[in-house]
Symmetry: C2
Subunit: 352 residues, 2 copies
DNA sequence: CCATGAATTGTTACCTGTAACATTATCATA
DNA sequence: TATGATAATGTTACAGGTAACAATTCATGG
């Protein structure tokens, strides 16, 4: 039996040196095959469908695999088929718990389907978004889930050239590259503002942080509702990230700028909760003297005293749906709905 | 000029068909080279260090790259060098915001260093952990950050065979595979329990969810402190995940089982916040009639009324340090400290 | 006892970028 | 002009698993 060709890999492992001292390379199929005395093709067949291999060999191959601790290697497959079984997920931020829930939704679908998630974030910078997308594509991801709706020309070109399915998530109002899944942020903010007005609030201030596209859309919705009801809008904002303490700070600012403020609508629950606690500390009664509403439906909003008014958004479902539609497209199905507009829910709670 | 060999890839793209109709393969270096009229090696040199290529070619190559929208491909490199520039991060859960902060810390180091994060989670199941680790290794990750301290024999074998640096995070008390970074959960729980006792609470109940290893360690610390002070311990727990509403529910349960309960120590802030709001709803004064403490130092704990007593843990720093030490090891540096024990901080707040 | 076909195993080529080595072009100096 | 050095470009081989095709084995029926 001529094994000269087969001995290329695996070095001279059998020469009796203590393996713990050798920086031994991770075993390949060839190493397993050498141990059994067959070609790597036979071992490959065993791994894909053991029925293709004779019963005697099955036992020996299994032993060899366990013995060497063989770990499958996707690299050759990725190279030859350009299929990685990995999905790139690109989000603006990991700080925001909203995106953590999106990831959870995505993973709940991808993981059972045997797909690996490659996570990246770009801190709301378009330059960084370009770089992250290039990186994800360099790993030959089979599909991409991205957020935001504005993309540079270079990003669009890369996505087009890559030829993989892309799904944009979070907002449903901009024309998608291929397919978008999200909510109508502007309509949601309009609805909540109207709800606050109906409850009797009129000097409502908008709290915004991280002026990304979705926040701007919500701001527009708020302004439209105020205007349609003959009220004056006022926005307090920052470019940095939102936080509970930012909400506290904004509350003070609002009362300075407009002492008769009787309502606060926040671009997310973090700010709203901070504002609410600031009122409690200052002895301002919520909702009698100050109505406070948030956005997204943070878990805590459903247990706190008073219950926070908020717009309940289907973050996790957005993630799930994005993953499901991506998998469907990977199976070759065409895009059925270019835009999937999910419903939001106005939860008045006890704070407005 | 004989180009017969060079025309293998790229098909017959130049034959005037509308490229938008062709399911065109993503361009390779060969395609770029064909367009310029050089070999792919020259283009490869340009990409790595454009000085290695003549000035005239530089211009033409740049044009061709832009024109075709070439995207680098890591697959060949991963195959031939077994280096992916990707780091696997394996966490028990993505639901828990504590882990979201760990991820943030990890990414804050890995991303600027040019490493890609491959995220996976295993829902506290050892079987799933095995599968996830095998998957991450199949992508040839250059290093791994994992949590938990107990691992199956198969996991240990895989990690050993893979020969890549591995860092375990979250707890610092178990002997690590190679290196561990975390806090002493047991000592932290002991300290907080003692603090509650000193504040005058004695019938303290422990709320636990998701009985993972860290929760069990904290429970031990609580029990030890109670015992050392001659007090009786009582634990209310569930195997499912913690949540704010779970904390509310536990509060009712505690008062049924032990009506004179005057303190609650929770394995995390979610439960504590839920318990606190339950007290507010029931008219139980905190901390006068009921002391409540949490664990981790959720952002909200620092703004709520009353301020929540909690153990402030350096989640993000754990992530950062893990990534930094991993990068250091990838540069060839040896493990300097097998265990890095980070300090926690007892924050009494206003709720005990 | 050989032909037939199914079952089993082997062989070759391929995917793409780059290290290592080889070749050709360019230029200054003897 | 020849020569050697340097710059620029080309050629070959390789990483590891698998598709596609080839070869071998073996049992069964004619």
């Amino acid at each position: 039996m001529d094994m000269s060709l087969d001995m290329k890999s695996s070095g001279m492992k059998s020469s009796g040196m203590k393996s713990s001292l050798i920086k031994s390379k991770r075993p390949t199929l060839q190493d397993v095959a050498n141990l059994v005395g067959v070609t790597k093709m036979t071992v490959s067949r065993y791994l894909k469908d053991s029925n293709q291999v004779s019963p005697q060999l099955r036992i020996k191959i299994k032993e060899a695999l366990d013995d060497l601790g063989y770990i499958p290697n996707r690299a050759p497959d990725i190279l030859s088929k350009s299929k990685s079984h990995a999905i790139g997920v690109l989000l603006p931020s990991l700080t925001n718990h909203v995106f953590a829930e999106v990831i959870r939704g995505v993973e709940s679908i991808l993981e059972p389907a045997g797909y690996q998630t490659m996570l990246a974030h770009y801190g709301y910078s378009q330059e960084a978004e370009e770089a992250r997308i290039a990186t994800l594509l360099s790993y030959n991801v089979d599909g991409l889930i991205i957020s935001e709706s504005y993309h540079t020309e270079r990003v669009r070109k890369m996505l087009s050239v890559a030829g993989i399915p892309v799904i944009e998530i979070m907002d449903s109002t901009s024309p998608p590259i291929e397919q978008a899944i999200g909510i109508d942020n502007q309509a949601a903010a309009y609805a909540m503002t109207e709800c606050m007005i109906k409850k009797g609030h009129s000097k409502i201030v908008y709290f915004a942080a991280r002026m990304d596209q979705r926040t701007l859309l919500r701001l527009q919705g708020y302004k439209a509702a105020m205007h349609d009801n003959g009220l004056t809008d006022l926005c307090i904002s920052t470019d940095s990230a939102s936080s509970f303490s930012m909400g506290e700070q904004f509350m003070k600012e609002a009362l300075e700028k407009q002492p008769d403020t009787d309502g606060i609508f926040c671009t997310n629950d973090d700010l709203a909760i901070g504002a609410l606690f600031a009122c409690q500390k200052a002895g301002i009664k919520v909702p009698e003297e100050m109505g406070i509403a948030g956005f997204h439906g943070h878990d805590i909003a459903r247990v706190m005293v008073p219950l926070l008014a908020t717009v309940i958004t289907p973050r996790e479902e957005i993630g799930r749906l994005a993953a499901e539609h991506l998998l469907s497209r990977l199976k070759g199905n065409p895009v059925t709905e270019k835009v999937i507009n999910l419903p939001f829910k106005i939860e008045p709670g006890e704070s407005i």
